[in-house]
């Protein structure tokens, strides 16, 4: 663990990213404490400039507090990003593991399916899925999962292909271990590091997709999110720039932090890749 941290800390921007990410998580955690009221509540005079009327980051057309929306929106973004990524990684591992381990016909069928999902333009597909299922937090998570798993499947398949003929796997076959046990207990733990790296970057993509959907009006109508704030503020862009600006900065900073952490994890978990430089 210490060794892992020292390798991670060598990448200074990754440490910075982790710091920012911890702050965002902290903000999400204490959102209900500093802003106990519903972020949809009309908190005061509409279109207050930042700093005026007790609004730290201003208020929107209906008098909703922008700062409160950002704090509560952090919960939404992180939650959707994490849940969708876990679900996508889970599906990706199932497809990739079976396809790489068994090869042949199984591989052919599973990879054809993966290929189809990779070909479909992912954001348009996500829009379509949410529109059909009606916007809700569940449908958004499902849509993001459906468009994100193929990448993981390809990665896991590649790892399984290269690991399945190693001696330790052959030894498992010799002692009569079942296929499932070999897949789950022996091979999978050996390809966790690339999965963790790709997964961390996927959280960032998921947050971007979620904000895009919410911006287009496909967010859960009962849950505050950064994309929704920007979408609701765009009509008043001319007179109230702050309504759109601050939630956008929140998205940018969060996604950037996650990307930096992902790169740091990559350096720390796959040290061989960097030694050349």
């Amino acid at each position: 663990m210490n060794e892992f941290w020292s390798r991670y800390a060598r990448n200074r921007s990754a440490v910075m990213g982790l710091g920012i990410l911890v702050l965002v998580i902290f903000m999400a955690a204490i959102a209900s404490l500093i802003f106990p009221d519903d972020p949809f509540r009309l908190a005061g005079i509409p279109l207050s400039v930042p700093g005026a009327n007790g609004f730290f980051l201003g208020s929107d057309t209906l008098g909703r507090d922008v700062a409160s929306g950002i704090a509560h929106g952090a919960k939404t973004s992180l939650l959707i990003g994490l849940v969708a990524t876990f679900a996508a990684v889970f599906i990706g591992i199932i497809f990739g593991a079976f396809s790489g381990y068994y090869g042949g016909l199984v591989d052919d069928i599973l990879m054809r399916i993966t290929e189809i999902f990779q070909t479909i333009p992912s954001f348009v597909f996500a829009i379509l899925l949410v529109a059909i299922m009606k916007p809700s937090i569940e449908s958004i998570v499902i849509a993001i999962t459906v468009v994100s798993w193929p990448g993981v499947a390809r990665l896991v398949r590649g790892e399984f292909l290269s690991l399945k003929n190693r001696e330790f796997v052959q030894a498992c076959h010799t002692i009569g271990m079942s296929d499932m046990r070999i897949i789950v207990r022996e091979i999978l733990p050996n390809c966790l590091s690339p999965i963790i790296v790709v997964g961390s970057l996927m959280v960032a993509t998921a947050i971007l997709i979620e904000s895009g959907l919410a911006f287009l009006g496909l967010g859960d109508p009962n849950i505050m999110s950064w994309g929704f704030q920007i979408g609701a503020g765009r009509t008043m862009l001319r007179s109230a720039w702050w309504v759109c600006t601050f939630p956008g900065i929140a998205i940018l900073v969060t996604v950037l932090a996650i990307n930096l952490v992902g790169e740091g994890l990559n350096d720390a978990l796959n040290p061989r890749l960097r030694e050349g430089n």
Binding site: R112, F125, L128, L129, G212, G227, L237, W241, L252
Partner: protein
Amino acid sequence: MSKSGKVFWHILRRLSQGVPIILAIVVLNFFLLNLAEGDAVDVLAGEAGSATPEYMAELRAKFGLDKPLPVQLLVYLKNVASLDLGYSFRHDMAVSELIIDRFWPTLLLMVTTIIIAIGFGIFLGLMAAVGLNTWKDSVISVFALITYATPLFWVGLMMIVVFSIHLGWFPTSGMETVAAFYEGWDRVVDIAHHLVLPTITLSLFYLALYTRMMRASMLEQYGQDYVVTARAKGLTERRITFVHVLRNALLPVVTMAGVQVGAMIGGSVIVESVFAWPGLGMLAFESLFARDLNLLLGIFLLSSVLVVVVNLTVDVIYSFLDPRIEVS
């Protein structure tokens, strides 16, 4: 077999791989249509305001919606094959006609974006790789990192705040000043003027992507044996970079351009709805509000087919350009 014969068979083989993918997408489309609440008759009845159950049953029979699902699927396949994608009741037009109408603005936006993103991406990546670990490299890398993390719609809105509202340099929305009735060159200039902000917005993300890729690709090529040979021959660094390394580094970047087309269609939905650019993306955005599912599915189908076609084309061009690629 001759080289051109091999290429021909390769193209044929790739085409035959594209067909099942498109077929699968059409079938997927059909099931999504069925998954949605209500069918075309419900929509029609809703539009009409009132309809008796008998009339609705009659309509269902007329459209074949009372038939079993497999039969409906076959009918749907047949319709799609004859380019009949259904009817948009909101626009009172056939979906295929509507889509073709709105396809050209999107194509214009995407082609300019691809040219700008690839052009500048290659240039910036080259600069970063040549000046490795200098301030130039750092600035370019930080720029790429930030644009990579910025949501497109937010960039677009900020562009409007700065360049349209405060500076007044560019129009906020639309594709042309309709009221001015420009013709000929004036119209071209007017459209180009409207095109600037949407193109910059949509290119930024891909610019970041291509910059990072070009930098990595250049650095990878610098490590190859032929560079050592070139140095040993006494070639100047300049010549090595521009004649040898650059050429080889370009290949993977150009391939990625084909792969990214799908993502770019998604990006154009967002950018078009920010700038009210009258293309397919804007049409998709409108159809969301109008709950016009037929239209949304049509756009989805066309964009999927577009991705397959672009990937095929890139692949075919590639097999002509790069003799190392296995065609047998």
